[in-house]
């Protein structure tokens, strides 16, 4: 089971892989829409993250993600 910090680090690495940029400080409270990713990039980042975690998120859960904390909660729910 990944901790929130580990999931955030994997997310950071996924953004680096897709967009080439290093994110500044991000926490569970960070809004995903504030990270400067367009909708296509966001789905690409999700795809990379799914690969790293070896899991596939249901589309309807992705539609509800607003903050990084929503993502870590989803990952932990999927792994449970």
């Amino acid at each position: 089971m990944h901790t929130d910090d580990q999931i955030i680090e994997l997310f950071r690495a996924a953004v680096k892989e897709v967009d080439g940029k290093d994110l500044g400080a991000i926490t569970r409270e960070t809004e995903i829409s504030d990270l400067g990713l367009d909708s296509v990039m966001t789905m690409e980042v999700i795809g990379v993250l799914e690969e790293k975690l070896d899991m596939r998120f249901p589309d309807e859960d992705l539609a509800t993600l607003k903050r990084i904390g929503d993502l870590t909660t989803l990952v932990r729910k999927m792994a449970a």
């Binding site: 296509v40 990039m41 789905m43 690409e44 999700i46 795809g47 990379v48 799914e50 589309d59 992705l62």
Partner: protein
């Protein structure tokens, strides 16, 4: 609101002769059923038979085909199955011209919007093969309007049928959002450039929307069949590359090659699927 007539003309009015080059001889522009065959012509007839059976048709029935395209299904029902009272409605003027050209005995067709179509008499049965994709636009789906719009479609279908009616429906399904940039962009491009104004429904949206008008009696998904259908279409398109480029230009060939390739990928990777539905009217 979905696709307007202007939108539909982008999708279907390139040229009847263009589509004739790469569709089957009846001009079905929908998924065939490759059960026991690798032949596109046979696969399309198998599909038409399934929809015929799902609508519980017999020669004495009065039937409407909603979104009848170039007339493949109405011609099949009238000539192959002997249904005596067959009607079709299409929003595409080019498709309507092709139906008139075929001059099929026992068939009438109307060019206009299904939602405005007022039949002289109610129907015993309905068929609709991949028209529901034009009922809701991507913007409307994003705004949460999809179920309401599909329900309005099923309500209208209910209003123009008699008690005891059956409905043979076929629809593409939107399944899984692509994760790769190329696939996202290709699927998005097909949605906006080839089929403007429309979007494929999700299965759960249809399951919700049929209520309280129609009961789902049978459903069969055919994702792999549609992938194979698109492969055949692209194969025929490519075999006619020189002629298509000469008559309609390089851009038309390139666009349709990209679109059909995106569809082959889309069905292979579960982005899209297809369902055939047998619905019984709730009286």
């Amino acid at each position: 609101m979905g696709s307007t007539q202007k939108d539909v003309q982008v999708s279907y009015d390139v040229s009847n002769d263009f589509f004739r080059l790469w569709l089957d001889e009846r001009m079905n522009y929908t998924c065939g059923v490759f059960e026991g065959t690798d032949n596109l012509e046979e696969a399309q007839v198998k599909k038409l038979n399934i929809i015929h059976d799902f609508a519980h048709l017999s020669p004495d029935k009065r039937v409407l085909d909603i979104g009848c395209g170039w007339g493949a299904n109405i011609e099949f029902m009238a000539l192959d199955k002997g249904v005596k009272d067959v009607h079709g409605v299409t929003l595409s003027p080019a498709q309507f011209e092709e139906i008139k050209r075929r001059n099929i005995p026992g068939v009438t067709a109307h060019c206009g919007n299904f939602f405005d179509y007022e039949p002289a008499e109610k129907f015993d049965a309905l068929t609709s093969i991949c028209m529901i994709e034009h009922v809701c636009s991507p913007e409307e789906a994003r705004n949460g309007k999809a179920v309401e719009l599909y329900r309005n479609y099923f309500k209208r279908a209910h209003a123009i049928t008699k008690k005891g009616a059956w409905f043979g429906l076929q629809s593409i399904l939107r399944n899984f959002v692509p994760r790769s940039q190329k696939d996202i962009r290709d699927i998005g491009w097909v949605t906006y450039a080839i089929f403007p104004g429309g979007i494929t429904p999700r299965m759960e949206e249809i399951v919700q929307a049929v209520n309280p008008y129609w009961e789902i009696m049978e459903v069969k998904t055919r994702r792999e069949d549609y992938g194979k259908t698109c492969w055949h279409w692209r194969d025929r398109l490519r075999k006619n590359e020189a002629l298509i480029k000469d008559k309609w230009g390089t851009q038309v060939f390139d666009d349709y090659d990209r679109y059909l390739s995106a569809c082959v990928t889309g069905f292979e990777k579960h982005y899209q699927s297809l369902a055939q539905w047998s619905l019984r009217r709730i009286d």
